[in-house]
Amino acid sequence: MKRIMSIHEAPIILFTLIVFFIFTTLSPNFLQMSNLQTILLQITITGIIAIGMTMVILLGGMDLSVGAVLALVATIVGLLVNAGVNMWLAVLLGIVVGALCGAINGFIITMFNIPDIITTLATMYIFRGIAVFVSGGVWVTNFPKEFEFLGQGKLLGISFPVLVLFVLACGFILILGFTRFGRRIYAIGGNKNAARLSGMAMKRTKFFVYLYSGMLSAVAAAIYASNVGSIQASTAALNISFDVIAAVLIGGASIFGGTGTIVGSMFGILLLGIIQNGVIISQFSPYWVDAITGLLIIVAIIINSLKRWKDSLKLEGKLK
């Protein structure tokens, strides 16, 4: 167990703590309980998507379509609840749609052998177009009161969306660590050739990873709809894929696949969430917000890579 969660994530955890500390000193409001809750709530959507993205990146791929899937599913769920469909049924249908989108990605990638990034770049355009079409170009809003539970409700005293994120993260940590499916993801990402030679079900694994990614985006979409309260299909979650990819990579994953953990990704997401919240809480000029955010992303990645870079030059202590 200790080895699975090796110290791989140490730099990012450390940096998250440092940033946390800096914002604490910069603003007395930062460490308020309500603000910490706000941060947790704000990262649920990217966090849930990041779980799927971690798996995709572990395979050496990238899913650029997550934002479009989110827009599509959020629109559909919103329309359904507004049409009087039971909220949970609507969410279920939304997840089915998300799974379908994921399955389409997975199908195209595995059957036609088109590289992941290109496929999801294409479906990103397509799903977004469909989403706007389905919405009729108007705001989907004015949801019934009970729908607020998904994004704002509490269960056992804990914010419901945060709970969802927690359960999903734990579930997938388990899947990645303790099922053959999970280890195959690492294996395929680590060495495709070897995976092929050991007769591994590569296509099936890949297909399911994209399917899960679609489903997770759908879960995020339902929370998004409830949380934000109004959906504009053309802009909902427009640039979320880059944010999530950045977070996963900051969390220690390698873009070439094979390396990375969900724990790391969650810290990446948390770090970005803290930064986004912190720069506003600390009352920086609005014009500086992006500049500081970008700078901190770069610092995070520098810290992540520092050890590797030093290692590559240093003599190793152990003779082999």
Binding site: I118, I255, D290, A291, I297
Partner: protein
């Protein structure tokens, strides 16, 4: 004849290029049937000057991707250079051509920052450039507070709007840049290193080659070309705004990928990239002429990407 052609073209790309050309011709025929305006000289010039900025950035981006990297910050570099140009000229009151040079230097410096982090310190290109993308865009807002900068001397508009020998000047620059880049990648050791780096960086290092420098140069070029595109855009639009170039990285990468360059490097061709750029230009223009809503254009572009690259094995 054909066999000779096949032999001279790089073995990885010949099929892909032929298919792309066929797609382009098919697309053009289709639009010609749909709109009488499509194949007019005016429209062709129109398309050509529209693709200049994407085309300029796509050239070094092809190198970047072939060498196994990625640069998402080009849009922000382009914007920063555009805004810097405006500020040097209108606020600092510098001569316009001096401002252009300084703007290009800004682009080079941004490229150098990417290069330092990616080539020298071996950080993952995607995250680094997402970081610089956000940060440089932030600098633009810090500098301009979001306000567009306009008011340039008339001679400056020649770059983006003028003609030379009956051809749009910016298109001529694009063609020259393309030919040079093509020569560089096919005929020089720099080009050879670019491909080798994308396939096996370690083997390049073990061959006693300064792989850091080659990578660095490529990323600096990318910054330079992004800035150049920014300058041309300012000249074409007569204004530099804070959102200049945002989102262009996706169009550029789409064009490069349609052109058959392999996303993980090692394989690709500049000819393919150029055809990819033209295809995107033609597709946009043709669909606009047909009055197709850009929503459906988005869907069509998506489908088109799938068709164009369906032969590229992952």
């Amino acid at each position: 004849m054909i066999t000779i052609m096949k032999k001279t073209i790089h073995p990885f790309v010949n099929n892909q290029i032929v298919i792309l050309l066929l797609l382009l011709v098919g697309l053009s025929l289709f639009f010609r049937l749909q709109s009488p305006y499509f194949l007019t000289q005016g429209n062709i010039f129109n398309i050509l000057s529209q693709i200049v900025e994407i085309g300029l950035i796509a050239i070094p981006m092809t190198y970047v991707i072939i060498s196994g990297n990625m640069d998402l910050s080009v849009g922000s570099i382009m914007g920063l250079a555009a805004v810097a140009l405006g500020m040097f000229h209108t606020m600092a009151g510098l001569d316009i051509w001096l401002s252009v040079i300084l703007a290009l230097i800004v682009g080079i410096l941004c490229g150098a920052l990417n290069g330092l982090l990616i080539a020298k310190f071996k950080m993952q290109a995607i995250v680094v450039t997402i970081g610089t993308m956000v940060m440089l865009r932030g600098f633009i807002y810090v500098l301009t507070e979001g306000r567009p900068i306009s008011g340039y001397p008339p001679e400056f508009y020649f770059l983006g709007q003028g003609q030379l020998g009956g051809l749009p000047f910016n298109t001529i620059v694009l063609v020259i840049a393309f030919v040079l880049a093509y020569y560089l990648i096919r005929q020089t050791r720099f080009g050879r290193y670019t491909y080798a780096l994308g396939n096996n960086e370690e083997a390049v290092h073990f061959s006693g080659i300064n792989e850091v420098r080659t990578r660095f140069i490529i990323l600096v070029c990318n910054g330079f070309f992004a800035a150049l595109a920014g300058v041309f855009l300012v000249s074409r639009l007569a204004t530099a705004e804070a959102t200049t170039g945002s989102g262009i990285e996706l169009s550029v990468i789409t064009a490069v990928l349609i052109g058959g360059t392999h996303i993980f490097g090692g394989r690709g061709s500049l000819v393919g990239t150029m055809i990819g750029v033209v295809i995107i230009g033609v597709l946009n223009n043709g669909l606009n002429l047909m009055g197709v809503s850009s929503l459906f254009q988005m869907v069509i572009l998506g489908l088109f990407i799938l068709i164009a690259v369906s032969r590229q094995k992952s």
